[in-house]
């Protein structure tokens, strides 16, 4: 049995990833902020799929607690943890983040700093065991900062850069690192907002994530066509990119 921790399990994407992993027979520890919602999700997965699902609360910004946190998860599961999927994050409006340093900093801390620190601790555990995987949901936004999302894009770009480096460190010991980059996804975050285009579902992200984990892909774009779009966007000359006005 493989046991996986899903951090941010009550987010739209986290919930879908939990279902996908459970349907593939993984045991889970669901982590997030609200215990009651986590427990409801855990019961759901146990009822549907007959797997074991534990619950552990998590506060991204309580950095001191990170040190012992992975241990707690292992205790909840009753077995060592084999992998972690990290799918929490916040998205503040660009104007709001730009106007208020505290909001900008808290977004950076949640999306980037806390993720890095938590993955470091999990990496320690997995290194000792010489197996397992670390997977984090970043965003296609991180591939190139746009005028309308500079701060958010930067947090995701930073995380992607870290994952790429971490992959180099952990590959020799047999731990894989997967960077999942979704496009615009229909979740609570985006519902009712004027949509850009090409909205996809959390279920699709979850399927692609599981496949990425199984096939040990370095970077997973989901849906896959984003790989081509982002390739083009990354290689667009700056004077053209600016004119797109996005």
């Amino acid at each position: 049995m493989t046991t996986v921790v899903v951090v941010g399990a009550t987010s739209g994407i986290g919930e879908a990833i939990g279902r996908e992993l459970a349907s593939a027979g993984f045991d889970l520890v669901l982590a997030g902020r609200e215990r009651t919602r986590l427990e409801a999700s855990a019961r759901d997965l146990e009822t549907r799929f007959g797997i074991r699902a534990g619950v552990q609360t998590f506060e991204a910004l309580e950095f001191d607690a990170h040190d012992t946190w992975t241990e707690k998860c292992a205790r909840i599961a009753g077995v060592p943890i084999d992998g972690m999927v990290l799918c929490y994050g916040v998205m503040e409006e660009e104007s709001v983040a730009a106007a208020d340093g505290r909001i900008a900093r808290s977004m950076i801390d949640v999306n980037f700093s806390s993720a890095v620190c938590l993955l470091d601790r999990m990496a320690d555990d997995l290194k000792k065991r010489g197996a397992g995987f670390l997977c984090a949901v970043t965003s296609v936004a991180g591939d190139r900062g746009r005028a309308s999302n500079a701060h958010y894009a930067a947090t995701k770009a930073g995380l992607s850069a870290y994952l790429s480096g971490l992959r180099g460190q952990l590959a020799p010991v047999g731990v894989s690192v997967i960077d999942v980059r979704p496009g615009t996804i229909d979740t609570k975050l985006t519902y009712g907002r004027p949509s850009l285009f090409l909205i996809s579902t959390p279920e699709r992200v979850a399927k692609d994530t599981l496949r990425g984990i199984r096939r040990n892909r370095a970077v997973v774009y989901t849906p896959g066509f984003w790989r081509i779009i982002m390739f083009l966007i990354r290689h667009l000359p700056d004077f053209l990119f600016r004119r797109l006005g996005v």
Binding site: A22, S23, A24, G25, R37, A40, S41, R43, D44, T47, R48, F49, G50, I51, K188, Y191, G192, R193, R214
Partner: protein
């Protein structure tokens, strides 16, 4: 910031499964029970309509003057007892979810409507019935209880014992008494995931009705397809399909050893790279005229010719949910949509009523391909529930123009004459006067609604049209 300002809505055109009428609605998608409560208490729109999978045909889950609340995010299962078959789950869990997870361990849904893509909440609100209504009753028979968020911002635990008046008003109450949040259901155990079915063909209505009486007790499931365009001596020519759950001993070799599908995750491991099964779908709206009286006549004749007497073994999915195999099949009717007419005629009047209905329909110059006739057993105690002992006839008519509504009005008169009623979950046309004559327990329903929802917070285009809510009520 209050709870509501954080809940955004999308204004978009919405319709029922029939694709007509289409209304611009404000659509919310609450994520939690708390968000549902906040909407009921504070949403700026005057009235609210809960909506599950949107599989009712007409305007039951539309609200052009208020707002629609999608229940889809309330989709968790709470518990399942494999000893007793009792399942607790959120309202937006679908029949399809339930079958997917519990058929592999020997449990099946006791009620089998024509599609499994319906939510538990919607099924309760419409008190749906299936091909086994005769033996198993309607949805309410397998509902042990539910949590109801009322218009008074309270959550009631309703069952036959606790708040029975709320229970029987909500069962079949079309979402007008509140939001069903969670339900406790009694699943049934089956010996295999297969049914043993047989077809018989009849040249006219009398032969069919006689046969439906005869040996009816031997079969759990029974449904007849009727050629709606046959007239004169062959009025009501039909194909009767009856079935029982197959015992493993009736299955052949490999299936006998493994009479249930695998639970999903085991399958995954065995066939990691298993090809995804492509589902059929109607990729776009076909031209409006695709299904016209002439093409329907040809299809009907073909259907009849291709279904001689036979017996066969079929998977539950294939047998009960034939149309689910084709995604978005309603698009075959074009953008004009399809209007469904389903009525029930009490047993004593059934023959005369059916003859009058079929004759009126066949001479109308309109066509219906999916014409279905079933027996209904005992009436449900739901105040607005549809079933009563008798025969039910359902017609799918392409919405080709005002003549369809005119025809339905004439059919309504026939149904009234014979003491029957039409089904609210399918209806998009009925008048308030007709409705009031068809549903004798309407006053009791109004009383119950006044108590559960004194400010008339819950309404829909259907309830406004039928005078259940709105200024005229």
């Amino acid at each position: 910031m209050t709870e509501t300002t954080s809940q955004r809505f999308v204004r978009r055109p919405l319709s029922g499964w029939g694709g007509t009428p289409i209304e611009e609605c404000d659509v919310y998608r609450p994520e939690t029970v708390a968000e549902f409560r906040a909407l009921v208490a504070h949403a700026p729109q005057a009235t609210l309509t809960p909506r599950g999978c949107g599989r009712s045909y007409g305007d039951a889950a539309l609200n052009g003057t208020g707002a629609v609340m999608l229940s889809e995010r309330l989709n968790r299962m709470v518990s399942f007892d494999a000893e007793t078959g009792v399942l607790r789950c959120d309202a937006a869990v679908t029949l399809s979810n339930i079958i997917e997870h519990f058929l592999p361990i020997g449990f099946f849904f006791p009620v089998t409507p024509g599609t499994k893509n319906i939510s538990v909440g919607g099924a309760i609100a419409a008190d749906v019935h299936g091909k086994n209504h005769n033996s198993s009753g309607s949805m309410s028979a397998c509902v042990r209880g539910f949590k109801l968020l009322t218009g008074r911002d309270e959550i009631l635990d309703c069952s036959r014992v606790d708040h029975p008046e709320a229970f029987w008003a909500t069962v079949g109450g079309m979402g007008l008494t509140g939001v069903i949040l969670e339900a406790e259901l009694q699943l049934r155990s089956v010996e295999s995931a297969f049914v043993q079915a047989e077809n018989e063909r009849f040249a006219n209505l009398d032969q069919l009705l006689e046969r439906m009486e005869d040996r009816d007790a031997e079969f759990e499931y029974s449904v007849a397809w009727v050629d709606s365009l046959a007239r004169g001596a062959s009025l009501g020519r039909s194909v009767l399909t009856r079935a029982n759950h197959a015992s493993p001993s009736a299955l052949s070799g490999r299936l006998r050893e493994q009479p249930f599908p695998d639970r999903q995750h085991r399958q995954h491991r065995r066939h990691r790279r298993r090809r995804r099964r492509r589902r059929l779908r109607v990729p776009f709206y076909l031209p409006n005229a695709t299904l016209n009286p002439v093409s329907i006549k040809v299809l009907n004749a073909l259907f009849y010719a291709l279904h001689p007497a036979s017996t066969w073994i079929a998977g539950c999915d294939e047998f009960f949910y034939t149309l689910d195999a084709i995604e978005d099949w309603n698009r075959a009717y074009g953008r004009q949509g399809v209007l469904q007419y389903q009525c029930v005629i009490p047993e004593a009047e059934a023959r005369a009523g059916l003859i009058a209905l079929l004759e009126t329909f066949a001479s109308s110059g309109l066509g219906s391909f999916l014409t279905v006739l079933k027996s209904l057993g005992g009436a449900s105690k739901g105040l607005l529930s549809f079933p009563m002992p008798g025969k039910t006839l359902a017609l799918d008519v392409p919405n080709s123009g005002p003549e369809v509504r005119e025809l339905f009005r004439r059919l309504d008169e026939i149904v009234l004459q014979h003491g029957g009623r039409t089904y609210l979950a399918k209806d998009a046309c009925m008048s308030r006067e007709t409705f009031e004559r068809m549903y004798p327990r309407l006053d009791e329903f109004r009383e119950a609604k006044a108590i559960l929802d004194p400010a008339s917070r819950f309404a829909s285009s259907l309830s406004d049209r039928l005078g259940l809510t709105g200024s005229s009520s």
